[in-house]
Every structure is written in C-alpha cells, then in structure tokens.
Amino acid sequence: MNVQLTLAIRYLKGRKLRTALTTLAIVFGVMLLFGLNGILPAMLQSLQSSMVAATGQTDLVVTSKSTGQFDASVAATVAGVDGVAAATPMLRVPVALQPKKYPVGTISLIGVDPDSAVSVRPYPVTSGRFLTADDLAADRVWTGSGRNPSVTLPDSTAKSLGLGVGDTLEIPSAFGVTKLEVVGTLDILTVPGNDEAYVSLPAAQAMLDTGNRISEVDAAIKAGSDRPTVTAAAQKAVGDAYLTGGVEANSSLFASLKLGSFIINMFGVFAIVMAGFIILNTFRTVVAERRHDIGMLRAIGASQRTIFGMFLTESLVQGVLGTAIGIVVGYGLSSAALSGLSSIYSDLLHLSVGKPVFLPSTWILAIGMGVGVTVLSALIPARAAARITPLEAMRPQMGDVYEKVVTRRAWIGAAIIAAAVAGLVSRNTSVVGFSSVVFLVGLALVTPALVKPVTDAFGRAIDLAFRQEGALARANLQRNAGRAAVTASAMMVSVAVVIALLGTFTSVFDGFISYIDKAMGADFLVIPSNMLLSTGTVGANDALLREVKATEGVGDVATLRVGRAAMGTTSLQVIGIDPVAYQKVASFEFSDGSSQVDLAKLGTDSTIMVNGIFAAQNGLAKGEKLKLETPAGTKTYTIAAVGSDYLNAKLATAYVSQSELERDFGVTADVVIMANAKSGADKAASLASLKSTLKDFPQFALYDTKEWRDLQVKTFQQVYGAMYFMLFVLAVPSLLALLNTLAIGVLARTREIGMLRAIGSTRKQVRRMVIAESLLLASLGTVLGMLAGVWLGYSMVDAMNTVGFKMPYYFPYNGLAIALVIGMTFGVVAALIPARQATKLDIVAALHYE
C-alpha cells in the first residue's frame, strides 16, 4: 500500500473519536443531500407512472394547456384529424372517498363514452360487463336521483374496495353522495394506490357539475400512420390552448416538487459547507498535532509533495468513508421519510409512493460534494503542512504573528459586508439570497478582528462565574485569534442561518395567523377536507348553497369556485367570487394601491384581480391587461386590483366574478362556503344543522372559524416542532467545530497546563479554564450569529413582501432565546472532552512536551 494511504488510515484509526466526529459532519451533510433527494424523485416517479398508466395504452392524448377542463366538442375535432382512427372524450377527476366507509382515501372518477372509448383502447372485462350505450342513454337524463348509474372497476380497485358485481359504490358528488352500481370489473393495469372508477361521461359530468366539459381526449392512430405527423396535425387542429402527446395535468405540481428539490438541495449544501468548516478546523488541528511527525518525515527525506499528499489522502479516505456512510444513512432516511409521508401523499395527491428513487445526478451531487468538499477543505491545512520546514517543525511552537493578517482580512471583510448590505436591501429575492451568503463570508473575515473586543466584553460576564480562570481563558483565545475566529465563524454561520430561517418562518406563520384573525370574518367555514381547491376536489351544486343559506341562524354567505387557466407556460387557478357577498364575510389583503373599491369592479368588462405572488412573479400591475388561456379560449382581462386571500396566498391565483367564471370556465360548483351567523343566533345550533346538511358531502369539512384557526395554529406548531428539530440538527456541526478548537487549544498548551498544575492549579481549575474558554468562544459565535441572523431574516421577509407574500416581520424572540441557550449548552458540552484531556495530563510529561 502507498505510504500516504497507510499513514492516512493509521492516523485515522489512531484518533478514533476525532475521526468519528469529523466523519459524522460529512455523513450528516451527505445524508441530507442524498437522502432528501431520494424522496422527491420517488414522488415524481409515482406521479409520472400514474400518468403513464393513465395514458400508456393510448396513442395520443389531448389536454388543455391550462390543465383545466374544456368543451367535449374537441373530441370531434381530434377524431377528424387525418390519421386518427378514433377519438374519445374523457373526464378524469380525483375524488376523496368517505374515510370511514372505504379503506381507499381517494379514487379517480373517470367519465367515458362507452362507444368510442373501446375503439381507442381495450377494456377487457373479467366479470360482469363494461359500460354500454344503454348506460349512456340512461345517464344522459339522470339528475342525481331515481336510479344508480353503472360503474366498472379495474380488478385492483375492486379488490382494494372489497366490491364486486352487484355491489354499490358511494362517491361524493356535486349533489351529495351518489350511489353507483358495480356492473363489471376490468383487467386494466393501474399504478398501486391509483384506484379508478369508470362511469359514463354524462354521469361523471353530472356528478362533478362540469356541464359538457371534459379533461382529456384520448385517440387511437391508424395503423401505418406516422405518430409524430398525426400528433402535429392534431396539435394544429386543436390549437395552441391544448397540448398533444402526454398528460400535462399536475404540471404545477411538478413545478412545486422541483422547487422543493431546490430548497432541499440548499439545506444539504449548507450542511456540507458546514462540514467543510469542520474539516478545515480538524485538519488545522491535525497539522498542529503532527508538527513533530511532519518535521521528522521531512528530515528523513519526505518531500513537500509527500506531506501534502499525505493530508489530502487522509481527507480523501475520510471523505469516501463519510460519503459512503452518508449514502447508506441517507437511503434509510429516504425510506423512513417516504413511509411517513405516504399517507399525506395519498390523501393529497391520490397516489402511493414506493421506494426512494436516486437519480444519477443525486449520486454525482452527493459523492461530488461529500468527497469534494472534504478534500477541498483539507487543501489549505495540507498546503500549510507541506510548507513547514523540518527545522520549524522540530522546534517548540512559536506564537503566531497574526496581527497584520487579521487587519487586512477585516478590511476585506468589511468591504464584502458593505457590498452584501447593498444587495440585502435590494428587495430582490435572488439578490437577497446571494447577498446573504456573501454577508456571512464577509462576517467570517471580520470575525478575527472581533475576537478581542467581543471576548473582552463577554469576559466580564464570564469573570462572574469563573473569577480565577476567566482572565486566563480570555487571554488564551485572544492570542490565537485566527483559530478562535474559524470556530466562531462556523458557529456564527450556523446560528445566523437558524435565526434567519426562524425569523422568516415566524413571520410567515404569524403573518398567516394574524391574517386569519383579520380577514376570515366568517363564523362558519365549509372547505375541502384536503385544503387544495383545484386538485382533487369535487364541488357542490347550488342546492347545497341554498340549504346552507336556509339554515337557522345563518346570515351572509359567500362562496368560492375554481377553474384553471394558463398564462403562457404558467398555470394558475382562477377563483370565482361574488365581490359583494365575499366582503361581507371575509376580506382581502390588498397591495399595489388596490382597495375594496377596485374589487367591486369584478364582474364588469372582463375584470380580474390577481394575487400578490402571481403579480410579482409575472411583473403585473393594476390597470394592465392579462391574456389567459381558458376552457373557452384565449380571453383578455383587465387587472382591477392586486390582493390575496388566506387560502390561496401561496399559489398563483386570480379572481373573477362567478358569472365570468361560468362564462369563461363553465364552472358553477362551489368549493368553499363561508357563512356568518346572524347576530344573536345560537351558533352551536347552527353548526349542528350545517353538520347535518353536509353529511352527504364528505368532500367537505365544516368548521367554526375559531376551531379552524386553532387547527391552523396546531398545524403550524407541528411544523414548528419539525423545523426546530431540523434547525437543531443543522446546528450540530458547530458543536463539532467548537470541540475541535478546544482540543487543539489544550494540545497546543500542554506544557503550559503542566506548568499551571506544577505551580498549584487544581484539576478543577484547569477544567474550569477550558470551560470558560469554550463559553467565551460559544458566546462570540452565537452573538454574532444572532445579530447576522436577525438582519438576514429581516431582509428575507422584506424581499418576500416584494414578491407578493405580504407579511410583517416578526422578531424571533423564541428563536433567539433558544439559540442562546443552545449556544451556551454547546459551549459547555464541547468543553467536556478537552477539559478532561487537560485535567488528566501527567504534569511531568506535560512539562517535557514540545
């Protein structure tokens, strides 16, 4: 084995604890980067396979670019395209089933035209029969009562629902729960967890209150025809508002998952960079420890290159080891997270997820970052080691002449901070994000110059608890400001990121809660149980609204309806409101100089209101024209106002009057009902009556607003809990950094500690000196981090305001308190091992130590 590799492995084995701690930092970063990146592709893959399953046996699929629904006549247009053998209209909508009734959470209700459907793809029957022309004829005149429409189920769905021919399937619909009679089962391949129910198209349209609209046209291509040619011809025939070739539904979901993937990568990269800090510090420690070894090796003939290679090999071994373990642990994390998420995923997206999926790019990223950052971080210490002359190495270590370097770096750091501050006040999210990183780099450069003043300031506090040892601890830190600064910087970056994120999250959450208090004036809320308005929600027809209005004690009522549109490649939801009724029960958070007066203009001359995030993302302003692809074709609206409601603040959303929603989107079903109680009415009694009215609409949940607010607060608190844990984990690397620095401090002062013990210091005093030093170091990092974090958090919230997330900045008092407590705790914990090391030193050996 190569001498460098032999030495690397032996040294790593020789310092097991240090190796474990440093490797742990790499493991941690790689685990996050690799593990979290296994989750999203698994979700995307299940989404894609569900689409492939839905369209896999079909030659050509036509969908709306807006991902919404469109008129069924498009099927005839597709059927007329040269080369198309047959085309059939389909309406596919995910529907939530009654939770207590069936073991399946959601099911895709698919409306088909039995005649043309079988010409496009086969529907092999395993028992009973498929839908027939008779079903179609009967369902055309069906109005929700009198008879049970026929339904056929794929074998897998029938099995998971426990149903067979002759049984009844109950599905929530626009007019309450609809009973369907199972007439047959089909040998159709479905993705596990993606259950389907086939009814006739008129039955589905009636149940979902979609009028004569469909969600896709499936077509078969004539044998011998060229698929791309036919697809191009179909595209030309249907026009730009449609997409041909694949199902684009949920494309907005793809975008969300990709954004999630970016955020996760940022977390992972941050963790790895922190690991880099630790490795840098560790190798500085290691170089100092092995000064004599290096000197001896150089004396007996090791070249500079050999020494350089020795440290790089050591880092490489550690990087490879840490990355390998990180990948294994990351796989476990992915699997655990996916099994934890599967119920939420199945509820919200109606899909089941399998094993984690690791793309080649994930492997490259994890291995590249894990090994790359480790080796890169070791470069500087390795170079320093190689440059040590044998003579220097054999001599007792001298104090560093550091002053000039400190001053120069501090000035460079100050200039970088000034540039970053300019970016941070730019209010542009990308610039703010980049400037945040630059700001932290600048602060890290300034930190060495701050070691003395800050430790002097904290020294007084430390002296209270460590009267005899405080001054010594302070002097120890100040005489090696560079080493103290690297540790303090690592801690500062950790704390700053934690505080900035906490500040941002607190502002987002508290902002939402205060918005609920301010804007959700309604006493009762009827909302989809899954909280997503346009995905997987079956609305209710006006019969439910009438019943709600007629309920004893219910006063003003307003509803939300939802359609989907597209602006270029951007998909958005369009919500239909009655501006007058809406303002009686709730209010909007207006921006761009808009007000309620502007809102009242909705419904006249194709006017529209857009929410803040959509306006900011697309550079839209009040008074401008907005061209949207709607199920009724391209429509131009005038932006009357910019404003957001609570439910849709996070999604690209526009608001039109309900009459224009019906005209342009054909939507008349309500997905949210908000109602006020009459003054003096018995709210409990009204709530009970509403509950009874809604029992046939399992797709909805009924809340009184206070209860709903509490639920939201509870949800946020759960998220907070998870987030605090995540942030705590992110702070762990700073503990390792602290421990390393203290360990090297003890090592470098071995002889001095021996002297202290020789002249009468007790073991306890030595221990307290190391702890005091650690606390000073932790205070330095924590306080700088807190200051930087508050400022960064404020900048982020300010920038988010400019992109439409309207929220005031909430000072993260809790976060600061927690950071301080954790920082100081880390200070004590990190000191334990080095303090023990120092107290156990043999006095005579220590006095002879060079």
Binding site: V3, T6, L7, M296, A299, I300, G301, S303, T389, P390
Partner: protein, 243 residues
C-alpha cells in the same frame, strides 16, 4: 575520505541590532567511519551546526560538502533527496510515527525513496534484527521502552545505507543504562558498519564513546580532540573546562 567538509560556516539570526550569531566561521570535517561528538554549553551552536550539515537550515555564509557534494546550491527537492539517501537522523525524542509499527517506521525512508513495501520491510526487519529488536518488529512506539524506541530510530537512520548519521542528543531522554546501550550501538554503527557519525551531546559518558570530540563555545570551535576511551575524553573535557 571526508564525508562532511564544512568550511567557515556561519549562521546569523535576525538583522541589525537584533542580529544573533549562532555559528561563527566553523570549519569541520568528518571522515567515513568516524564517530565525532560535539559538546559545549547550551546555546553554543551545537544544534545549529548539526542542522546546517543536515541541510535542515541554510548557512549565512560558508559551505558544506556532504559525501563530496556541495549542498549550498541545492533546492528543497535536492536537499530532501540528499537527506533521504545519504543522511540518517536520530533525534532526542525519537520522533517515531506513533501509528506505525517498528518495521514500518524503519522502512519509511526507503518507502519515501520509492522502494517497494516488501523490499523496504525486508531491509527494515534485517536492521531491526541486527540491533537486537528482532522480536519487536510489529510493536508500535507506545509498546516499546524509551531505549527500544531510540534503537528503532537508529535502525531507521541506517536503513537507507547513508554515509552520515546525525544524532542530536540521542540519549537526552533516556536513563543511564539505555544511554549506554545507544552509545554502544552508535559506536558499532561507525566502527563495524563504517558510517560517519556526528553526535551532539551534553553527556560526558556518552561522548567518551566517540573517536573525536569537538568542543564549542559562543558559536565557535574551541577545541577538537581525538580520544580513545573514557580517560582521554575526560582529559580533553577538563582541558576546555567542561568538567
């Protein structure tokens, strides 16, 4: 043939008013197979002389020839190769690599010189056996006594078959019995195996094993006496006032 030929060697640290002359125009030669001890009070320039001859430090003036080659014009790579191939070092604190076994420590100069591990280990084992540590081949430094560690260090200095061994206080960290053993070993290294040895020491008993004692004071050589045994060594030391 002279293995070491130092002429008018000077070393000045610092400059101007702060200048300290550690070595002042020292000339010295050591023949092949000769065992030379350097003695003198602390700060007299003994270690500086050793470092300059070993190529670990650069002289302010003067020249050093090692094995017929002038080291003055050598760059770091050439000096490193010279140390690896022609000079062996023995230090006061042994300076063995703590994570390597005896045989691996001894083999290190050969491995660094590009020899195959098997070949290097075989040579290292051979040297360890010759110095009486055949039963300690696999032991790490922390499993050896001080004397044994210094023996390993001597074997490491010998393994690359150097012309010159430089020993800086090789017994400074050992008890008297171990010191005697090391001194005897060094005597064997020069007498039996023909290496030139330049050893810095404070210990008169150890210096008495040498063929010659060079006495230094204030950066200069004040005497250079050939000795043969303890008595003549004692006389030489008394002459310069060291005893």
């Amino acid at each position: 043939m002279a293995i070491v030929e130092a002429k008018n060697l000077s070393r000045v640290y610092g400059s101007g008013d702060m200048a300290v002359t550690a070595l002042d125009a020292v000339s010295l030669s050591v023949e092949a197979g000769e065992f030379v001890a350097v003695m003198g009070p602390s700060g007299c320039g003994k270690s500086t002389l050793l470092n300059l001859i070993g190529g670990l430090d650069t002289p302010s003036s003067g020249s050093v020839m090692i094995d017929g080659r002038d080291i003055a014009g050598m760059n770091d790579t050439e000096l490193t190769a010279l140390r690896r191939q022609r000079i062996g070092f023995v230090f006061q604190f042994f300076n063995l690599i703590p994570v390597l076994s005896s045989v691996e420590n001894v083999a290190l100069p050969l491995v660094l010189d590009g020899k195959k591990a098997d070949e290097a280990n075989a040579a290292a084992s051979d040297w360890l056996k010759r110095i009486g540590l055949g039963d300690r081949l696999k032991n790490r430094p922390d499993q050896l006594s001080g004397g044994q560690q210094q023996r390993v260090a001597v074997a490491r200095a010998l393994v690359s078959e150097p012309a010159l061994i430089l020993a800086d206080e090789p017994t400074g960290n050992l008890d008297s019995r171990s010191s005697d053993e090391i001194a005897a070993l060094l005597k064997q290294v020069s007498g039996e195996w023909g290496r030139a040895i330049l050893m810095v020491t404070h210990d008169p008993r150890i210096a008495a094993h040498a063929d010659r004692i060079v006495f230094m004071r204030d950066g200069r050589v004040v005497d250079d006496a050939k000795i043969s045994g303890a008595e003549s060594a004692r006389a030489a030391m008394e002459k310069v006032g060291l005893l």
